[in-house]
């Protein structure tokens, strides 16, 4: 009896050990867990539908808050037409730009730079992967053209803001890149992309109404002209802008006050703009206007980028320039039936030595109908306007020795600005090249106030030191932003810092 028991026990124990070992020899695929609800590179984009998805995502970056200089309209605050705004305690981290005291460790520069490269990456996904998709060739090329236009747009900001930067055309670039010269990126990427886009993309009128907001042939030409102007190729500017003017796709709005209201979105004057809906970002909104919107009553935003009283409002008022009203929201003004009361907790007027140096006011160009902060996100930021094409054309003609012709386009813009008041903004008549050059730049200041163009205009015409010097601008340094310090640190100096930072 005892023996059977012992034998049974041994057999039983052996069985347990066998089973224990067999269970523990577990299959390896237990440890494979693919992500849920998301794809990985290699499985996207693979189809015509994917190609559209990937292309639309490149446009998404245009609405990204960080694409606007890391959230705030720094270019306007640095230029003479705007101050930091809001109240002194708000956004202290960006007050440094107003005085050109920014260093390489500012968060907004880093966010801006990173978001621009994120946008380039999104474009590179389309440019590199969509050509491999079997689909209708025309549509495929259009998607690639749109992505290349946008890639050029993002690079155009990188080059002007930071100078030489890493040249990235791959989805996963090598980790040891240094900076490539501006001209190399311009030639190999930016100009090539824009010329491709000019050839491939439809004109604005060739798109279905449901496709408004997509890149067009003439948007590509206008962006190319803007860059050629910045880098001093006036012959190219003259040709490019002439073709746009002759395309009959665009004209000026009759009234300057009608350029920015929501009813003029994608209107006759808009060459390229960023479509947005009055929702939060993920639902189609753009926080650009919210950042600059009226603080307090009505509560439309944060009130940054306050129009400069001394260097913009007073100058325009002294010149009887009617554009000051559509450009600036003054307290107690009524817009869309809403009285602007502003912020009660801060001062309405700030004096220094008995003189007004700042008044509470806001950027009216970004006003969007509504009474709350969210609805201000519906504002469509106009990136390229037809009046810019006209003034670029005028400037190029003047530089190319055709000052008399230049006057036509300059005065076309002034005439519209004049509105019904024939007594103001008389036609310019001088054909002195140097004098006319200054007048065109001056015209651009008032025509494009608070639109982010002024700073580049001052830099490219070597006027920055003269005009911005009193605000803290240092020649040889502030033409460029600093490369984010983290980028220099991570690359262990392969990516060098800009002079002066």
């Amino acid at each position: 009896m005892m023996k059977i028991r012992e034998k049974m026990q041994k057999l039983y124990s052996f069985l347990i050990l066998i089973l224990f070992i067999s269970i523990s020899a577990c299959s390896g695929d237990f440890l494979e867990q693919a992500p849920r609800g998301a794809l990985t590179v290699g499985s996207f984009p693979n189809t015509a539908d994917d190609a559209l998805l990937a292309t639309n995502a490149v446009y998404n970056s245009l609405r990204d808050w960080q694409i606007n200089c890391g959230g705030f309209p720094l270019l306007d605050m640095m230029a003479d037409d705007a101050l930091k705004g809001s109240n002194p305690g708000d956004g202290t981290a960006i007050s440094v730009y107003d005085k050109f005291e920014h260093t390489a460790t500012e968060g907004s520069v880093e966010r801006w730079y990173k978001t621009l490269y994120q946008s380039v990456k999104r474009a590179n996904l389309v440019v590199n992967e969509v050509p491999n998709i079997e689909m209708e060739a025309g549509l495929r090329d259009r998607y690639i053209g749109e992505a290349r236009f946008l890639r050029a747009y993002y690079y155009s900001i990188l080059l002007r803001a930071f100078g030489d930067v890493p040249k990235v055309t791959e989805i996963n670039p090598p980790l040891d890149l240094g900076r490539s010269p501006v001209h190399e990126i311009l030639t190999e990427i930016v100009y090539a992309d824009l010329e491709y886009a000019m050839n491939i993309l439809p004109a604005k009128s060739d798109y279905e109404p449901s496709e408004l907001g997509r890149a067009t042939k003439h948007a590509a030409a206008a962006l190319l002209a803007r860059l050629k102007l910045f880098y001093g190729d006036f012959a190219a500017v003259e040709t490019l802008t002439k073709d746009i003017i002759n395309s009959n796709q665009y004209d000026l709005e009759q009234d300057y006050g009608m350029v920015f209201p929501s009813v003029s979105e994608h209107g006759i004057e808009s060459v390229f703009e960023v479509s947005a809906t009055a929702e939060y970002f993920e639902d189609g909104g753009n926080q650009y206007a919210n950042t600059q919107g009226v603080r307090g009553t009505p509560n439309r935003g944060w009130g940054f980028c306050r129009p400069s009283y001394t260097d913009l409002i007073k100058e325009m008022e002294d010149a009887n320039d009617p554009r000051v009203d559509p450009t600036v929201i003054f307290l107690n003004e009524t817009i869309d039936g809403i009285e602007i009361k502003g912020e009660s907790a801060s001062l309405d007027t700030i004096f220094e030595n008995g003189k007004i140096i700042e008044i509470e006011c806001y950027n009216q160009k970004v006003w969007y109908p509504g009474t709350d902060a969210k609805s201000s996100q519906g504002y469509n930021r106009r990136l390229i306007r037809f009046s810019d094409v006209l003034l670029m054309h005028s400037e190029a003609l003047n530089e190319n020795g055709k000052s008399d012709q230049a006057l036509i386009y300059l005065n076309q813009v002034r005439e519209r600005a004049r509105g019904n008041n024939a007594t103001v903004l008389p036609d310019i008549t001088t054909t002195d090249k140097v004098a006319l050059r200054d007048l065109i730049i001056q015209e651009r200041k008032y025509e494009f106030a608070l639109e982010g163009l002024r700073f580049w205009d001052l830099v490219r015409t070597n006027k920055a030191e003269e005009i911005l010097g009193p605000l803290g601008y240092i020649k040889g340094k502030n033409e460029l932003f600093p490369i984010p310090q983290s980028e220099v640190d991570i690359s262990q100096g392969r990516i060098s810092q800009n002079p002066g930072y």
Partner: protein, 989 residues
């Protein structure tokens, strides 16, 4: 996933079920010296956890088989193991205990005698755990375990405390893991236990103790064992506790007159009649006084020689000091075990939690920032008035947010005993929870900055399951003086977490009956849903060897595989070696000196960490990255990269060296435990912002194995107990020193060499992590005074635009100008010393005990003072502002913001504190008296919690947690901790 394996296990159980009959042993237990029978001695069959107790004659009977080991334990006597033979009638003699070293301590996947322990393990018994009223039993460990830092960071009912063991080990998740009744889970699961149901808590600290938990052990392990029944008469316990709580202290802010004076100093003449200004104390407006805390617990336990059970039911209710922040909680506990045969026993341990929590309105900061000169109500006395900085009362009124949670944790197990020394244990463990939250904000208008134009509702559910299938084989044998104990096995774990979140706006009615998504407008409906899943497969083993209870050796190892890592680095190996020497057991050790016990311990090992998101290895492409097109501005669906991934991620590992000494003096009247530890964590999994041109985007991080941190320090825990006539007394002193240094970051990874943290939300980032410094130090300007006049300003370096009365910053690099290059380290939130002190005095039926805790050498960044979105009320220190030359060299002139609010040492405060955590007066009704009314034991107590705190910190409490280690400790505004007074009664039937 486990199905196949579980089926095989069921087969094993089937084979073993009732295969063999069992034998009954009869025994008698007596005191060795007196020969008296001992009543109520616990007799446990070691391998099964089944057992009985001796009756009035000192006898017992138990079902077992030859070779089984009985563990005999009795208060005041040495625990002993008795090996069964064929002899059915046994007599056992017990020795009176000379020391406490033979306590049984729970370690990972088993138990051991304290004297055989080679690792650093702290053991806390149940009576210490019920001392502090609160929802979370973890809080009661504060000040009890050297090296353990528990921060009760919020007085919000049900808030989880922050737990750190031996400093900050990693940069991501520093929480120790919890093992509840054998189930590996996260530390938050402790909240589902009622303190009364806990039998013991063990904190495993060094590599020797934690290596068996491998990848989960690096930040320490907290093992919680709940109560079980023993055979004999049913024991019934009933306890009630009723307390009241109030905010422990208020933050000093300006009153109406002070505020008016300050604003007048910025803008002269703003308020002409300071006496006419209203004076609203917003903290008094929002905080409730003497709100109730109630708890009631009932438990019954018992059993026979074939089964035992413990059943517990608890209720906990706390209203909270802030309206709409209350918690109601119900816990249920059922532990049951069945001995089916001498070869097989099975059991189920289960804990269930039901909780209902109102999510506190976020008005704590608003109450500090709201202008004291604005009245809360309009003239009608009931409509909320617009208040600059926000009306906190309106904030409360319009917040309706509630979370419900159901969570169950259980361990279903079977033990099969075979070949005398072997036990095979198989268990299926689960920790599942179902949570839902609902938040409704009505349409309202208080002012332009405080309004909601359309009502909103959001509703979400989350479903978490954590399933573990665990199989171990253990072996124990005594070869003469050689004692061998071994365990080996494997576990499979499957963690899934799925959420569904929906929101809408414009509900047709605002009544709670309509707080459902269906009542909203379709246009506004939004829904999101996803699942995360992680799987783990582990092999583990440990061998413990001791020779003659003098020389001890423990070797343990674990191999973990995780789905969190790519194919190249799926598995990580972890191990430890430890030795111990009971010097006092040596023959040469003198017997007649004051030292009665002396033991040395040494351990070294490597443990790991894999607490990263499961998708960190992938560069994901997601939808919802849309463009907007067309005259109607419709969304054009888009998809592209969302951040980046790192396919080469591998396990983070911590090597830890520990040297320890246990000492007992004067027959263990004084017991000391001293440890030195050094932890080197390498390949730390850090989310880093990679080089920008790779295009992951702003604020996007990728996990890298990219930093090394060293923590080292000493720990001590010393206690002394004695009697002086009718008075018994005891005191204890424990502490830890922490030295934390980052030894490497990022180099060679294409990632940042500097980690930036501490975002205040106003564009300021006040924390850095860099090589050679403690993790998350504060970074900013070092204030060396206030510019007193124009000459001082002209002669010294200053920031652009500074004027007399502004803070003067140190020119750190000495280049004659102040700019951002002059920012420097201005504090660290890692304490140099954490300590606790407790004492107990007994006289007859009375007992008075007190627990103190404290920490030293840490700083706090007072972020709530520095955040100035607009003009807000100021804290009291701003009353001492500069008013002219010579007035103060500490506080700047009045301003609304700007230069004097830049990140600087002006906002860094000393976070050291010393707190009387609890003071308890206990009265035990005499046994004779209580037995007359049928009750074995009656206890009454009066308890005060957080009675006083000595600190120079100006906020609600210096106990503030860091969201992430790289942020440091920033006071962004916390729910204040409370002072509680509680009375309670405990009845044993």
């Amino acid at each position: 996933m486990f199905k196949k394996y579980i089926a095989q296990t069921i087969l094993i159980l089937f084979i073993s079920g009732g295969l063999f009959s069992q034998q009954t042993y009869q025994g008698l237990i007596i005191d060795e010296s007196s020969g008296e029978p001992l009543i109520g001695v616990s007799v446990m069959l070691k391998t099964t956890d089944s057992g009985t107790i001796t009756d009035l004659d000192g006898s017992f009977s138990i079902l077992a088989s030859p070779g089984g080991v009985l563990q005999i334990s009795y208060v005041g006597y040495q625990t002993l193991d008795f090996v069964l033979t064929d002899q059915k009638s046994i007599n056992i003699k017990m020795l009176i205990q000379q020391n406490i070293l033979d306590e049984i301590v729970v370690v990972g996947y088993g138990t051991t005698k304290k004297s055989d322990l080679t690792g650093s393990v702290s053991s806390i018994k149940s009576e210490d755990i019920t001392k502090v009223p609160g929802t979370n039993a973890i809080q009661s460990l504060q000040g009890k375990v050297a090296g353990l830092q528990i921060l009760s960071t919020s007085g919000d009912p049900g808030a989880d405390p922050i737990v750190r063991l031996r400093g900050i080990t990693t940069l991501n998740n520093n929480n120790p893991i919890a093992v509840i009744d054998g189930v590996i889970t996260d530390i938050s699961a402790v909240a589902l236990l009622n303190s009364n149901d806990i039998a013991s808590v063990e904190v495993l600290k060094d590599a020797s103790a934690t290596a068996i938990y491998g990848s989960r052990g690096a930040a320490g392990v907290v093992i919680i064992s709940t109560r079980r029944g023993t055979s004999g008469e049913n024991r019934i316990n009933f306890s009630v506790q009723q307390g009241v709580e109030s905010v422990a202290n208020r933050v000093g802010v300006m009153n109406g007159r002070e505020f008016g004076t300050y604003i007048n100093a910025i803008y002269p003449g703003t308020y002409n009649n300071l006496d006419a200004l209203p004076n609203v104390d917003w903290q008094s407006e929002i905080f409730q006084e003497n709100t109730p805390i109630t708890s009631a617990n009932f438990s019954v336990s018992g059993g026979s020689d074939k089964n035992n059970f413990y059943f517990g039911l608890g209720y906990f209710g706390q209203e909270g000091i802030l309206p709409k922040s209350g918690l109601d909680r119900l816990t249920a506990k059922l532990n049951s075990a069945y001995i089916l045969s001498e070869f097989l026993d099975i059991g189920l341990d289960m804990s269930i939690l039901l909780s209902d929590k109102e999510n506190a309105p976020g008005v704590i900061n608003t109450a500090l920032w709201a202008w004291p000169i604005n009245e809360p109500f309009l003239a009608d006395g009931e409509s909320y008035a617009e208040v600059n900085g926000g009306n906190p009362l309106a904030g409360i009124a319009y917040t309706n947010s509630r979370s419900n949670l159901m969570r169950g944790l259980g361990n279903l197990y079977a033990n099969i005993h075979f070949l005398k020394d072997f036990t095979f244990r198989t268990s299926l463990q689960f920790d599942v929870s179902e949570g839902k939250s609902r938040s409704f904000i009505p349409k309202y208008f208080v002012g332009p900055l405080q309004q909601n134009e359309i009502n909103d509702l959001s509703y979400g559910t989350s479903n978490n399951t954590n399933l573990i299938f665990e199989n171990t084989l253990s072996y124990a044998h005594l070869f003469g003086k050689h004692n061998v104990n071994a365990v080996g096995g494997y576990t499979m774990q499957d963690l899934q977490n799925e959420y569904l979140q929906g929101s809408t706006e414009g509900l047709i009615r605002e009544d709670p009956l309509f707080w459902y998504l269906n009542a909203g407008q379709n246009d506004f409906e939004k829904v999101s849903n996803n699942l995360n899943r992680q799987t783990l497969l582990s092999y583990l083993g440990r061998v413990q060897y001791s020779y003659d209870s003098r020389y001890l050796l423990t070797v343990s190892a674990r191999r973990d595989g995780s789905s969190n890592f790519g194919p190249n680095n799926k598995y990580g190996n972890f191990y430890s070696f430890a030795t111990g020497w009971n010097i006092s057991n040596e023959d040469f050790f003198p017997k007649d000196i004051m030292i009665n016990n002396l033991k040395l311990r040494l351990s070294y090992g490597a443990i790991g960490n894999e607490k990263i998101p499961g998708t960190a290895q992938y560069a994901l492409i997601v939808g919802g990255i849309d463009g907007v097109f067309g005259e109607n501005e419709d969304l054009g669906a888009g998809a592209t990269f969302s951040g980046g991934g790192n396919p080469d991620l591998k396990w983070e590992s911590t090597t830890q060296f520990n040297a320890g000494l246990n000492i007992g003096l004067w027959d263990d009247k004084l017991i000391g435990e001293l440890d030195y530890y050094r932890k080197n964590t390498s390949d730390i999994l850090v989310p880093l912002e990679p080089i920008g041109y790779t295009g992951v985007g702003a604020y996007q991080s990728i996990f890298f194995n990219a930093a090394d941190i060293r923590n080292s320090g000493f720990e001590w825990n010393i206690s002394y107990r004695d009697k002086a006539g009718p008075i018994s007394y005891q005191f204890g002193l424990l502490g830890t020193t922490i030295s934390n240094e980052v030894t490497d970051i990022g180099q060679g990874f294409g990632a940042d060499s500097l980690l930036i943290g501490g975002d205040l939300g106003n564009g300021q980032q006040v924390s850095r992590t860099a090589v050679g410094y403690p993790v998350g130090f504060f970074y900013g300007y070092d204030v060396i005074g206030v510019f007193q006049n124009a000459e001082e300003l002209a002669e010294n370096a200053s920031l652009f635009g500074q004027k007399p009365g502004d803070l003067r910053f140190r020119d750190v690099n000495g280049d004659g100008v102040i700019n951002s290059n002059d920012r420097t380290i201005i504090g660290s939130s890692i304490p140099d010393l954490i300590y606790g002190f407790n004492l107990e005095l007994g006289y007859g039926s009375w007992k008075l005990s007190a627990d103190f805790q404290g920490q030293m050498g840490n700083e706090i960044y007072n972020g709530k003072q520095a955040i100035r979105f607009t003009t807000l009320n100021y804290e009291s220190k701003f009353n001492e502002h500069w008013t002219g030359e010579g007035s103060t060299n500490e506080h700047p002139k009045p301003s609304e913001g700007g230069i004097n609010f830049l990140p600087s040492s002006y906002f860094v405060e000393d976070g050291s504190f010393f707190r009387l955590r609890t003071l308890t007066l206990n009265y035990q009704l005499g046994n004779e008296l209580s037995k007359k009314i049928g009750i074995n034991n009656v206890n009454f107590y009066l308890k005060a919690t957080n009675l006083f705190t000595a600190t120079s910190y100006s906020g609600y409490s210096p106990e503030i947690g860091a969201g992430s280690a790289i942020d440091g400790v920033i006071d962004r505004g916390v729910y204040p901790i409370t002072r509680m007074i509680t009375i309670g009664m405990n009845l044993d039937f």
